[in-house]
Amino acid sequence: MSTVDEIEQTTPWERGVATLLTVWRELRSNPLALAGAIIVAVLGVVAILGPALISQDPTAQQLGYRLQSPSLAHPFGTDHLGRDVLTRIVYGARYSLGIALAVTGIRVFLGTVVGLIAGYVGGFIDEALMRLVDIQLAFPGLILALVVAGVLGPSLRNVMIALAIVGWTTYARVVRSEVLSVREREYVAAARLVGIPTHRLLTRHLLPSVVNPVLVIATLNLGTVVLATAGLSFIGLGAQPPTPEWGTMLAEGRAYLRRAWWIVNAPGIAIMLTVLGFNLLGDGLRDALDPTQQTRVEEV
C-alpha cells in the first residue's frame, strides 16, 4: 500500500484518537500539565454549569449589604453595590472563557487559512501575505488592540474583534512553515500526481500536519486572551457595567482595595488561575505534540 493510500485511509477520527492518546500520556507523566488541565477543566465546568447552580443575579444590587466581608452567605463577600462577588466570578468565567475561545477560534481560522494559502500557492501570493503579516507584527499587539478597541468604541464585542485582528499572524507563520516543509514530501507529490483535488490535498494531507503546533499555540493563546480581555475591560474599553467581567470587576473594586480587599482579589485570583491553567496545559501539550519546541508564546 502506498503512503498516499495509507494517509487517505487514516480517518480524522483515528488521527484525533492518536493525538489524544499522546496528550493523555504526556499529562500522566507531567504533573504540572495535569494541574493545568484540571484547572482548565474546573473553570470550564464552572463557566458552563455554574450559572445554572447559582440562584443569585450577578447584577442585583443590595445597597444595604455593600462591602460585606466573606461569610457563609457570601463566601467571596459583596462589592460596593452589595452584589455577591462569588456569583459575579462564576458568571465572569463564562464571559472570560467564552471570549477567549471565540477570539482564539477566529485567530486560528484566519491564521490557518492565510498560512495554508501562502505556503501552498507560494510565489507572489505568499510574498504579499507574509509581508502583510510582517507589517502587522511590527506593531506591538496590545497597543494595536487598544487602538482598534478605542476606535470601535467600548464593548465586549469590539474587544473580541480587536484581539482577533491582532493575533492571527503567529498562526499564519507557523502554518505556512509547516506547509512549506510538508508540501515537498513524496507522499504529497504523489498525491498531486494521482490527481487528488487541491481542496482534498489541503484538508487531508497538509492540514493534519499543522494541527499539533496550532493546538499548542492556541492553548497558550487562550491564557493571554483572557489577560488581554481583562486588561481592556479594566481600562473601560471592554465590558460595560454592570457586566460581571473579571477586568471590569477589578476596575470597580480598585478604589476599595484597602477597605474591601476581596472585591479585587477574587477576580484577580480568577484571572491568575485561568492564565496559569492554560499556560501549564499549553506547556504540556507542547512537550507532547511539538517536541521540537517550535511554537512560541503569543504576546497578546
Binding site: Q61, R254, Y256
Partner: protein, 515 residues
C-alpha cells in the same frame, strides 16, 4: 541548538518580574515620589500632596506655578466665606457708568521682589492673561483693551455689556496679579513666594513682608501625587503632611487612625444627570419625571459618596447664594409613582443611554445605581463609558439620553454655570442649538430670557428670583435629575493644625498652619 525557555522558566520569570513591576508601579504611581518631611514637633515645613500638578505648563503665564492652592498670586477680589466677592488686592470698587468699573488698589501692597503694586502692574497682568487665554473676553465680558490704569492706584474695566457680577467673576485664580516684568519671575503678592519649581513640585517659602504678617510655615512644598491611594498611603506613612482630595471611600479609614485626621467641606459643586430634551423618548416630560421619581438621593449620597455630601434637589449646590434648594420640590423616591408615569408616557421599551466619563469612578458607580433603579420602574438603561477626551463632545452632540455631569464654580460668581447649562447658547447646548435649533437640556426661550435677566440683575435677591425660576422649571420639567451636592475631603497628620478650609478648595488658606 538554541532552545526556547521552558514554560516553567517563563512562568517563574513572569511571576518574579510581575512582583518587581508591581513594586515599581506602587512606588511610581503619580509620577513623583513624595519626599518625607523632617517631621519634628518644631519643624514648620510642610508637604502637601495634590491630585493635580502644581507645576503645570498649562499655566505658563505664571511660569508654570499653578495659582490654585499655592497662595503665591492674589486676585483683586476674593470669594468670601459665603461666596460673596470680598476685597483682596482691591480695597474697593464701584460702577462708574453702566459698563465701567473702577477698582481702587489697597495701599502699600508689595510684590515679593519689593516692588510696590501699581495699577500698571494690574493692567500688565490682565494683558498677559488675555494673551495666554484668548477666550477670556467671552467669560469676563472685557476685551483686551478694556483694562485701563487711570492713575497709580485705580484700574478701570470696560465691560462689553452691563455685567453686575463682574467683581465676583474676577475673584478667580485666573486673575491673580503677578509682576510680569520682574527680574526673576514668578513674582506675586501672596503670603508665599516661590523658592523652586521642579516637574510635579513647587517649593514655597513665606513672604516675610506680607501685609498681614509672615505666615507660620517655614516652607510649603506642593507635590503632585496623582494616584489617590498613593496619596493616602503617603499621608499615613508621614511622607506628606496634608493630602488633598482624599477618596471618599477611604476617608473613614484615614479618620480612624490616630495619626491622621480628615476635614470635609461642602463645596459649591453639584452632581446631576442632564436629560436630553430633544432625543426620543426622553422628549416626553412624563418619562423624565418618572426618572426623577425613581431616584433616592439620600441613598446615593450614603453609598456612592460614603456620606460625604448632601442629597440634591436642584442643579446648583446650596452653597451658591442664589440657589433655592429649600424651595425646590422633592420627587420621591416613589417608584410606584414612577412606574405609573412610565406607563402613561410614550416610552416603549427603548434602551436609554447614560453617558459617563470613564475616568470618573464615582460617576460610574452612580450610573450603575441609577440603572438598577430605572430597571425597577421598567426603563431599560445602558451605561456608555467614554474616554475623558471625547466625553464632552459626546455630551454636547446629544448622543446620550442622560449624561452624568458635575458643575461648580471656582469664583464668587456662578452665573456662568446657569448660562452654560440651561441657556440655548450656553456651551453645553450651543452646538445643537445653532445646528438645528435644539440643544441638550436647555428648556427654551422662557428659560433663556430668565437667565439673561438674572445675568443683568444687580442684587443677589433679584438674581435669586430669576435664577430661582430657572431652577424650578428645570426640576419640574425633568430636564435634570438632581443627585448630590459634593463635599471635598482633606486629610492631614493629626499634629497639623490651623488649616483654614474654604467652600472653594482652591482657596484653602495655609498661612496659619502649624504642627
Amino acid at each position: 541548538m538554541k532552545q526556547n525557555p521552558s514554560r516553567r522558566t517563563v512562568l517563574t520569570g513572569s511571576v518574579g518580574g510581575g512582583i518587581g513591576m508591581l513594586a515599581g508601579c506602587i512606588g511610581d504611581i503619580g509620577g513623583n515620589e513624595p519626599e518625607a518631611p523632617d517631621g519634628g514637633d518644631g519643624d514648620q515645613s510642610f508637604v502637601i500632596g495634590l491630585h493635580s500638578d502644581p507645576a503645570d505648563d498649562q499655566w505658563a503665564v505664571y511660569e508654570n506655578v499653578v495659582p490654585y492652592f499655592t497662595q503665591v498670586f492674589e486676585p483683586l477680589v476674593a470669594p468670601g466665606d459665603n461666596l460673596e466677592p470680598v476685597p483682596l488686592l482691591a480695597s474697593d470698587w464701584e460702577v462708574l457708568y453702566e459698563t465701567t468699573w473702577a477698582f481702587d488698589l489697597r495701599d502699600g501692597v508689595m510684590f515679593h521682589d519689593g516692588t510696590e503694586l501699581t495699577a500698571d502692574h494690574v493692567v500688565e497682568s490682565f494683558d498677559a492673561a488675555f494673551d495666554h487665554w484668548e477666550w477670556l473676553p467671552g467669560w469676563i465680558g472685557v476685551e483686551r483693551d478694556g483694562v485701563i490704569a487711570t492713575d497709580g492706584s485705580t484700574v478701570e474695566f470696560e465691560t462689553t455689556e452691563p455685567f453686575p457680577t463682574f467683581p465676583g467673576t474676577i475673584s478667580h485664580h485666573y486673575f491673580g496679579i503677578e509682576h510680569v516684568d520682574a527680574d526673576e519671575p514668578p513674582v506675586g503678592t501672596g503670603p508665599f513666594q516661590v523658592e523652586e519649581v521642579d516637574p510635579g513640585k513647587v517649593q514655597l517659602v513665606p513672604n516675610e513682608d506680607y501685609r498681614d504678617g509672615s505666615p507660620t510655615p517655614a516652607s510649603l512644598t506642593f507635590q503632585h501625587v496623582a494616584d489617590p491611594t498613593t496619596r493616602v498611603l503617603s499621608l499615613e506613612d508621614g511622607e506628606i503632611d496634608v493630602a488633598h482630595d482624599v477618596p471618599k471611600e477611604q476617608a473613614n479609614s484615614v479618620e480612624g487612625r490616630s495619626e491622621t485626621e480628615i476635614e470635609s467641606v461642602l463645596r459649591n459643586h453639584a452632581g446631576l444627570a442632564a436629560v436630553n430634551l430633544y432625543k426620543e423618548p426622553t422628549t416626553d416630560e412624563r418619562l423624565r419625571q418618572a426618572l426623577n421619581w425613581a431616584v433616592d438621593q439620600e441613598q446615593l449620597v450614603e453609598t456612592v459618596l460614603d456620606g460625604f455630601g448632601e442629597p440634591a434637589r436642584g442643579p446648583f449646590s446650596k452653597q451658591i447664594p442664589w440657589a433655592i434648594h429649600d424651595e425646590l420640590p422633592t420627587y420621591g423616591p416613589d417608584r410606584d409613582r414612577a412606574r405609573e408615569l412610565v406607563a402613561e408616557s410614550s416610552y416603549d421599551g427603548e434602551t436609554l443611554s447614560i453617558l459617563v466619563d470613564s475616568d470618573d469612578a464615582d460617576d460610574r458607580t452612580t450610573a450603575e445605581v441609577l440603572q438598577q433603579w430605572y430597571d425597577e420602574i421598567g426603563v431599560d438603561v445602558e451605561i456608555v463609558q467614554v474616554d475623558p477626551a471625547a466625553w464632552y463632545d459626546t455630551f454636547t452632540d446629544g448622543e446620550a439620553h442622560l449624561t452624568l455631569v458635575g458643575f461648580g464654580s471656582n469664583s464668587a460668581s456662578a452665573d456662568y454655570l446657569v448660562r452654560a447649562m440651561f441657556h440655548s447658547m450656553g456651551s453645553d447646548n450651543r452646538q445643537l442649538y445653532q445646528a438645528d435649533g435644539t440643544g441638550v437640556y436647555n428648556p427654551g426661550e422662557e428659560v433663556d430670557e430668565l437667565i439673561e435677566s438674572g445675568y443683568r440683575a444687580e442684587s443677589v435677591g433679584e438674581k435669586r428670583e430669576y435664577y430661582g425660576e430657572v431652577q424650578q422649571l428645570v426640576v419640574e420639567t425633568g430636564a435634570i435629575v438632581p443627585l448630590y451636592y459634593d463635599e471635598y475631603v482633606l486629610g492631614h497628620r493629626s499634629e497639623v493644625e490651623g488649616i483654614e478650609t474654604h467652600t472653594i478648595d482652591k482657596f484653602i488658606d495655609w498661612t496659619d498652619m502649624t504642627r
